[in-house]
Amino acid sequence: MVIAAIIILAILLYIIGTVFYKGLPSLTLDMITKLPGGGFYLGKEGGILNAIVGSFYIIIGALVISILISVPLVMYINFYLPANSFFSGIIRFSLNILFGVPSIVYGAFGFALMIYLGIRASLFGGILAVGMLIMPIMMRSFDEVTRLLSRDLPDALLSLGATKYEMIKVILRQLMPGLITAILLAIGRGIGDAATVLFTSGYTDNIPASLNQPAATLPLSIFFQLGSPVEEVQNRAYASAIILTIIILIISFSARYFSSKFSKNKIS
């Protein structure tokens, strides 16, 4: 067991170490403030602002879509359907399957859907595909927190004469930290995923101005830079990886901060 723990720690340190060792020298302010200039992938100057902004746009859009669907669904299967009902069983089973679907499949499915709808590779396509990818992640973890909620709170609310809708509003407050954790997990998975956006969002050196324009993403940006024969560009790929890691860390910490702020009235 100790060996297993050491292996895990060593792997983590090795990954972080490599990324920082190779990327840190190339990490400049230009990287995060400038768009890639001409010949950026051949070692000329520029940054990856396009990918940072593109990734943000995509993950925010995907979050909006999946929150709008997962929160009502989780509330429905937990508080409207009878406990252990056949239908909620089916929903949970499908979520488990969707959870295990590889991201490239969502990418391919999103691509097929886009062809059917006549949409070109664009920000919107990326949002849809990433939305589909993170929705089951968010639902499953939010559902698990919700199932742990004791019956006391819903009973207390109902016995005060609250309607189901009023009850859900209070329960969501109680579940806020759980929801934020679910969102965090979803962001972590969604922002770093390359396969879903590979076909769906396209790639560009500019910041997309509308939903119909293609959008660059951090994982793809790293992929393209690593594919460059120029060593300097490859090192920039590691710098981009540092940026991606830091973004995830910032999101995670700020979400935790807000979660504790929202949950100050939470009853444990």
Partner: protein, 279 residues
């Protein structure tokens, strides 16, 4: 004889206490619960068997009996909380203020509003102390800030919590001690202006001192409300109850005024239970 016009006028008369208003008096005078032929099945198990019971108004009725005898199930039929669990089937009649709450077209919310429930474990809502008490009035349509402030203060005072939390009513209810939380829950239940108070082993999670406070509150409450308590402790029933209902395996074995019940139990089963042969 009062004319209808006078009746209507009297409702809006601010000089009269609620209890003095003739129309409310008429309603308030009939705060009885009358259960007729009540049967409850849970997943084909017969939990309550043909219960018929009259609960007198403005008194404390304690339902006692060994665990699993259906005390809490009986209590839950009174505010229709079984509606939330589809495997529970309720049949029979429960008249509250003369109206069968299980007949068609009865508004569940109205029924629940009449019943202030105090659960076994206190469960404050995830909000401030103030908002906990204000929650009920707010969802039932009271918006005026002044009225809400007044209600909150009134009921916090009533349960003796006001002086303890005065400076921090805006802080989280989760920070209160468990005994204070239970009194807060009582204040929250009272703020919806119920006519009946239901207590489901409301003191079983509390320390002796908090238990005493809650018991004193129950005694105070019976001046205005009809109080129905499920309790596990015979001594508590003996201390505060006016009437006792003894249940065993889903049936009512014996009912009666407290003193008579404890001194001269009529049934052998009751005698055995009181003497501690089983519990």
């Amino acid at each position: 004889m009062i004319t209808n016009q006078q009746l209507v006028k009297s409702i809006w008369n601010p000089d009269l206490e609620a209890a003095e208003k003739p129309i409310l008096k008429k309603v308030m005078n009939s705060h009885t619960i009358n259960i007729e032929g009540l049967n409850v099945h849970i997943d084909n198990q017969h939990i309550l068997k043909d219960i018929s019971l009259k609960i007198p108004e403005k008194s404390i009725t304690c339902i006692i009996g060994p665990s699993g005898c259906g005390k809490s199930t009986l209590l839950k039929t009174l505010n229709r909380m079984h509606d939330e669990t589809p495997e529970v089937k309720v049949s029979g009649k429960v008249f509250v203020d003369g109206e069968n709450i299980y007949s068609q077209g009865v508004n569940v919310i109205d029924t629940r509003k009449k019943m202030g429930l105090l659960a076994q474990r206190p469960c404050p809502l995830p909000m401030s102390i103030f908002d906990n008490v204000a929650y009920g009035p707010r969802i039932h349509g009271i918006r005026r800030r002044k009225a809400i402030n007044q209600t909150v203060i009134q009921y916090l005072q009533y349960v003796g919590l006001w002086d303890e939390v005065r400076g921090r009513v805006r802080s989280s209810a989760a920070k209160l001690s468990i005994g204070q939380q239970q009194r807060l829950c009582l204040a929250r239940g009272l703020a919806i202006e119920p006519e009946y108070i239901l207590g489901d082993e409301a003191t079983s999670a509390l320390d002796p001192l908090s238990t005493k406070k809650i018991e004193e509150l129950f005694v105070k409450l019976k001046e205005k409300y009809t109080v129905i308590l499920v309790t596990h402790t015979l001594r508590q029933a003996k201390r505060i109850a006016d009437n006792i209902v003894f249940m065993y395996l889903g049936e009512i074995i014996e009912t009666g005024p407290t003193e008579e019940f404890f001194k001269n139990p009529k049934k052998q089963l009751t005698k055995d239970y009181l003497s501690g042969s089983f519990s």
